[in-house]
Amino acid sequence: MKRYSVFAVAREALRNHMGWERAWRSPAPKVRYDAIIVGAGGHGLATAYYLGKNHGIRNVAILEKGWLGGGNTGRNTTIIRSNYLQDSSAAIYEKARSLYETLSQDLNYNVMFSPRGVMMLAQTQHEIRGYKRTAHANALQGVETEFIGPGRVKELCPIIHIDGPRYPVLGALWQPRGGTARHDAVAWGYARACSDMGMDIIQQCEVTAVHQADGKVTGVSTTKGEIACDRLGIVVAGHSGVLANMAGFRLPIESLCLQALVSEPIKPCMDVVVMANTVHGYMSQSDKGDMVIGGGTDGFNNYTQRGSFHHIEETVRALIETFPMISRLKMLRQWGGIVDMTGDRSPIISKTPLGNTYINCGWGTGGFKAIPGSGWAMADLMAKGEPGPLAEEFSMYRFREGKFIDESVAAGVAH
């Protein structure tokens, strides 16, 4: 792989950029792989990358029904934070966040991780107590957060209306090393690195059946033919239930549409990410200048990637109360993605009833921030057959024991 650098760009500029290689190859599937990962989103690609990088397993195929990075990886609001309350959540999200810090250099692909800081506003006494609790927990977990007062909130984000008539801002949980990244670039960067390790990313290749013998997976049928494998990783977010069904088990997952929207681009006016959970809205400004806004999930299950407009109305109302200036901006585009929700709103990284078959799903409304940590933990599980400390608590069997990882205290809307 030719490395990217300012010098490479300069060199290519002189030959009209005719010398760039493909970012990833587009091979035909082989007959057999050591491991197949279904789903070339961020989590699937990261899983493959760390299988190769950490465990030396490189005879890997990543199968994708559509185009890589085209699911929730390319539809989210790109927020990265790890200020979670429960230990197991904080561990994996902080692992992810810390991997993001050096991801551009690791992948030799600029994913534009921007640790501009994330603040979660406290607008009730109850929220103040909740966020103070999170700050105490984070300190013990090694996650750098701080509860800040309204004055500091205003200083960090001048466009916030601190003294709103309805819910004045009373403070915020501030994570200075949280931020955003360029979502597509995360998928592309991992894809390029995987392809460079010799892995095959096969797009437009839908899995139609999972084959097994003696309780173990043997391969899959796809729209591009039969492919055998020793290990299977299912990393398909909203369609997890469909794949689990092929593998012969059921999941405690609901699929819901989550919406987001962007404004037209304006000059920089907001340097941090703000989440306002009392009024249900969050916003940041992309490097392009759009205000990126997260909305709510529909109250019914579906696969449409569209969603109901009243959620957009509620979100915009909440944000106009918080940031009055956006009233005069215009909504440029709205969209939806299918999020896979578990009963406790925490993910599943788990062995399954089918031997040598592993599942990574349930990231719900907050998967993007977890991509590197999720891939790291899933690769560990697939390589060793047993979960490491990061994944251990996220077994799909926890619901039987009642061992939930509930973050509802820390986040009212989205996490």
Binding site: Y4, V6, A8, A13, H17, M18, R22, A23, S26, G66, W67, L68, G74, A91, E101, S104, N110, M112, S114, R116, T124, R129, Y131, R133, T134, A135, H136, A139, L140, Q141, G142, P165, R166, S263, E264, P265, I266, K267, Q285, D287, K288, T304, R306, F309, E313, I320, E321, P324, M325, S327, R328, L329, K330, M331, Q334, P389, E392, E401, G402, V409
Partner: protein, 998 residues
């Protein structure tokens, strides 16, 4: 130069001049002008700078598809960034400023990016700025951000108001051109409710510009008649300046109406959002012309051929003195002829087709206009304005054959139906090879609940190019959506059109050097070479190519660039256009204001405050409020110069020594009634409610299916089949919904009604040793211990007001809660204050309430619980029935993790030094876990300063806590320090309960 012609301009009123200001200079326009036509009439072609290279940008279109003409419009509270000049109607005093340049529009330092453009191809930032790592946040990103963005951020508060309409119609027709008017006419004759909306201020679309004969009359006359006929139909509503923004599931559609943008008027709403439920939706949204990709096609003065024609006919504006027309189809010949007839010079029509001899071509030739077939533009010359073109053979690589001097270029690459609304909700497209366009595939429409299609494209939006076809289609669709037989079709006569030649590169063998100058997306600076680079690098999916190059991601969302871009991609990866496909069309069609989306629900109307009948008294009496759900409850009542903390301490001591008064009206009050009500409550609560005697009260716990505690409160049996369930303030609506969920979805055969009467009653707690004296002074009921013992209820009157009295306590004191009709709430509150004056009565707030209950060791939902706590964790086993075979949560509480002896359980906590434990503190354990996190062994759930005891008190959940009484463990204090805390009994005050039972 571009200028106002001496004659013409069907939309302007030359008798009424209007002055507008652009970049501080005054420009004269006429009523009816758009800001674009007014600027062009004054030779102001340069209106902005592009996003990435800061290239000079001129107006390229005449409608909603305009990618370049974006301005900062207005000032102060009326400021709007990124306003589109082509759809902004002028009014006296309009001010606008161009965007994205420094120091000025004419001289922009950022234009150096053009010189560097070879170093800044698509996706360059993914390959650069990698080292050193910290530079991204501190150096690279701030620089990139500063040069990105377009308009300025608004600074002042929005001065305008917005509103929303809900409309229910049988047929929604979007688009008031010929197709929309005719479809609405046909459908309207059925008597069905029809709503016809048009985004511009005028009916008829572009028909009057091309002026076909319809029923023997000019198009303009036919349009006028059609609007009159529609206006006469009582079942048809018409709205101009109303844009069909989006189509959603189940016939839901969104429209955005601009009420006063064209004539600002104080007191009137600016925009109105229409939320429409339509049985059927007809999309008569017309077509948009495509640019052609030739080198220099972004230089100001290069414009869509249709737009050149629109400006001449609609506004009497000529774009240039010498306009070269370049095309691959017949339609652009109309532009040449309009210009010729206006006395302007058309040096040549450059037609990529080798053969061109349709009626329009012949007509142009007959006028003496030079037509060059098989030719292309090799490059446009000029910087901030076109100065000429070099023509070449279209079949070649672009070797110049001839230079033609000109100051404008009118281009036409064919037409694309506006399929956005068709596609929003899943309508599919097919590629029409003959017409070189994606048009709706009628066999794959968006479908409603009945499986049938509910969106019907018509006319241009359905791929119809000729007027006669448009009207025939409109009659057919209008009849079909209203269930009638198609009636007469107006007879239309317009010119035959020859076949189009798809042209995606001009010339078709253009060299790389030329391709690097062919713009696809003018605003985002995406060129043909960029899409080709993306394809070479493997970004082959149309979505990858879009996201890698940012093609079509600008404010126009690719209305001009998407089809051209995907055609280039198709060529680059050698895959037919239909296989490449389009990117997803998403609402809104054009950007709509956030203000309109929010509507009236802002300020005081954003989540309006719920108010108890006593709220006004609180406001007048020094209350400091805190939001609790949608209510605001008094946190404390401040007297004189007291701090909130001092007020709370005073309130606590007064309750303990004298008597306090609490407005508890916000507590949820749910009446559960019916033959199965007892059975129902036995399932909902962990203890038994069905055996409660009439007139008695019982404290109950409610869990979810997982066993976690979700609410608590006192349940009262009011009659044999009627219970009153008190919930927490925040829980009223949630628990009501929870009950209905179970009744409607699971136990639908049980005979139970639930009514939420929270707001029907005011509830006032009279609390403290003197409480009984206050009630006795009020008089009317026997409230003695013998007649009304602890945990009972009675109806009667107090102070002449009908009252229901509950002898319950959440403070550990002698306490009554009295419910009176809401209308009497304030009167009763006043009566209590008057009666209690001699006994030292004082109101108290929520914080005092919290301290009182914490001193007594009572739990609070939301403090001791957080969705992960079961009643057993809180030592509430006594409130869990062992006899019942089932209740919600029972099975959940039996799971292995729930019965783990190591679960954290509720205990009292006191610091060794008497200080208050910080909110949210954790008890630190020994060592770290496998992830390197410090181990914990508990956490504080409620922590207060107790004025009664003069020290900090707390409750918390601690691993095996009840077994560890007296043990001292460290709690976090922040800043890495800890405080020593002793585990104690959770009841700090009146352990024997003598006061409460008093």
């Amino acid at each position: 130069m571009s200028t106002r012609l001496a004659r013409g301009g069907r939309l302007i009123n030359r008798r009424k001049a209007v002055t507008v200001t652009f970049n501080g200079r005054n420009y004269k326009g006429f009523e009816g002008d758009t800001l674009a036509s007014a600027l062009l009439a004054n030779d102001q072609m340069l209106v902005g700078r592009s996003f990435k290279y800061h290239r000079p940008r001129g107006i390229v279109a005449s409608g909603a598809e305009e990618p370049n003409g974006l301005v900062n419009l207005g000032q102060g509270g009326g400021f709007e960034p990124n306003a589109r000049v082509t759809t902004t109607e002028v009014f006296e005093g309009l001010t606008a400023e161009s965007q994205n340049h420094w120091p000025s529009l004419e001289f922009d330092v950022g234009a150096i990016n053009t010189a560097l453009s070879r170093f800044l191809p698509a996706g360059f930032y993914y390959k650069m700025f990698l080292h050193p790592r910290s530079f991204w946040k501190h150096v690279y990103e701030p620089f990139i951000r500063q040069s990105a963005g377009l308009g300025q951020a608004p600074k002042a508060r929005d001065q305008d108001t917005y509103e929303q309409f809900n409309a229910h119609v049988d047929v929604l027709v979007v688009g008031g051109g010929l197709a929309g008017l005719q479809a609405a006419l046909t459908a309207g004759q059925s008597g069905l409710r029809v709503l016809l909306i048009e985004q511009s201020a005028h009916w008829g679309g572009r028909a009057a510009v091309d002026d076909p004969l319809i029923d023997g009359t000019p198009a303009e006359f036919w349009i006028k008649t059609a609007v009159q006929r529609l206006a006469a139909l009582p079942n048809v509503r018409l709205r101009t300046r109303t844009m069909g923004a989006g189509v959603y599931d189940h016939g839901y559609a969104l429209a955005h109406e601009r009420l006063t943008d064209h004539a600002p008027e104080a007191g009137k709403p600016r925009h109105r959002l229409w939320r429409i439920r339509a049985g059927k939706i007809v999309t008569a949204t017309g077509m948009i012309e495509r640019p052609l990709s030739f080198a220099g096609n972004d230089i100001p003065g290069v414009m869509l051929a249709s737009a050149v024609r629109d400006y001449a006919v609609d506004f009497g504006v000529s774009i240039g003195d010498r306009t070269v027309v370049v095309t691959n189809n017949d339609d652009a010949y109309r532009t040449a002829m309009v210009l010729h007839q206006a006395g302007l010079i058309v040096p040549a029509i450059i037609d990529a087709r080798v053969q061109a001899d349709g009626a329009l071509v012949r007509a142009a030739r007959d006028l003496g206009i030079r037509v060059e077939t098989g030719r292309a533009i090799a490059r446009v010359k000029g910087g901030k304005r076109v100065t000429g073109v070099t023509i070449c053979a279209h079949a070649g690589e672009g070797s110049g054959l001839e230079d033609i001097a000109c100051d404008a270029v009118a281009m036409s690459g064919g037409w694309s139906p506006v399929v956005h609304l068709w596609s929003h909700c899943g309508g599919k497209l097919i590629w029409d090879e003959g017409l070189a366009m994606f048009r709706p595939d009628a066999t794959r429409p968006p479908t409603g609940a009945d499986g049938a299609g509910f969106v019907f494209p018509v006319g241009g939006a359905n791929g119809m190019l000729r007027t006669a076809d448009v009207l025939t289609d409109a009659v057919a669709v209008g009849a079909s959506v209203s269930g009638q037989a198609a009636g007469d079709v107006p007879v239309a006569v317009d010119s035959e059109q020859g076949a189009i030649l798809p042209v995606w590169l001009m010339p078709q063998g253009a060299t790389l050097k030329l391709r690097q100058k062919m713009w696809l997306d003018y605003q985002n600076d995406v060129k043909v070479s960029d899409v080709q680079l993306a394809a070479r690098e493997g970004y082959e999916s149309v979505e990858h190519a879009k996201r890698y190059t940012t093609l079509g991601m600008a404010t126009d969302q690719g209305k001009l660039s998407n089809i051209n871009g995907l055609a280039v991609l198709s060529g680059a990866i050698n895959t037919p256009i239909p296989q490449v496909g389009t990117t997803t069309f998403r609402p809104p069609y054009t950007p709509i204001s956030m203000g309109a989306i929010a509507g009236v629900a802002r300020g005081d109307l954003f989540q309006p405050v719920r108010k108890t009948p006593i709220h006004g008294w609180h406001e007048a009496s020094g209350a400091e409020f805190e939001p609790v759900g949608l209510w605001r409850r008094p946190y404390a009542f401040l007297q004189g110069h007291e701090s909130a903390h001092e007020a709370v301490n005073r309130e606590v001591l007064n309750v303990r020594r004298n008597v306090g008064l609490l407005d508890a009206s916000t507590l949820g009050k749910l009446i559960v009634k019916g033959p199965d009500a007892g059975r129902f409550l036995d399932m909902l609560y962990t203890n038994v409610m069905s055996t409660l005697p009439v007139g008695k009260c019982r404290y109950g716990l409610m869990c979810n299916e997982n066993g976690f505690l979700i609410d608590d409160g006192v349940v009262v049996r009011m009659a044999e089949d009627t219970w009153l369930c008190h919930t927490t303030t925040g829980g009223a609506d949630r628990i009501h919904a929870h009950m209905e969920d179970w009744l409607q979805c699971e136990w639908w055969d049980w005979k139970v009604y639930v009514a939420n009467v929270t707001e029907q009653y005011a509830q006032i707690a009279v609390v403290g040793p003197n409480a009984r004296k206050v009630l006795e002074k009020l008089d009317g009921m026997d409230v003695t211990k013998e007649v009304l013992p602890f945990m009972t209820s009675a109806d009667g009157t107090l102070g002449g007001i009908a009252a229901r009295v509950f002898r319950i306590s959440f403070s550990g004191e002698l306490s009554y809660e009295i419910a009176v009709p809401a209308s009497q709430g304030r009167a009763f509150w006043d009566a209590c204050l008057a009666a209690g004056a001699e006994f030292g009565i004082q109101p108290y707030g929520t914080e005092c309430l919290h301290v009182l209950r914490a001193e007594k060791g009572f739990i609070m939902i939301g403090d001791e619980t957080d969705g992960t706590v079961i009643p057993q964790d809180l030592n509430l086993g006594w409130a869990i029935s062992k006899k019942k075979s089932d209740y919600l949560g029972k099975r959940g509480q039996e799971r292995s993790h729930m019965v783990d002896p190591k679960r954290w359980k509720l205990v009292g906590l006191e610091t060794v030094d008497g200080s208050v434990i910080p909110d949210g503190a954790y008890a630190v354990g020994t060592g770290t876990n496998a992830n390197g996190q410090k181990n914990t062994q508990g956490r504080v759930t409620s922590t207060y300063f107790s004025p009664t005891l003069g020290k900090g008190i707390a409750m918390g959940l601690v691993e095996r806590g009840p077994e560890r009484m007296g043990e001292v463990i460290p709690f976090t204090k922040g800043n890495g320090t800890t405080v020593d805390v002793r585990i104690v009994d959770q009841v700090f005050y009146d352990k024997a309960g003598a006061k409460q039972d008093g």
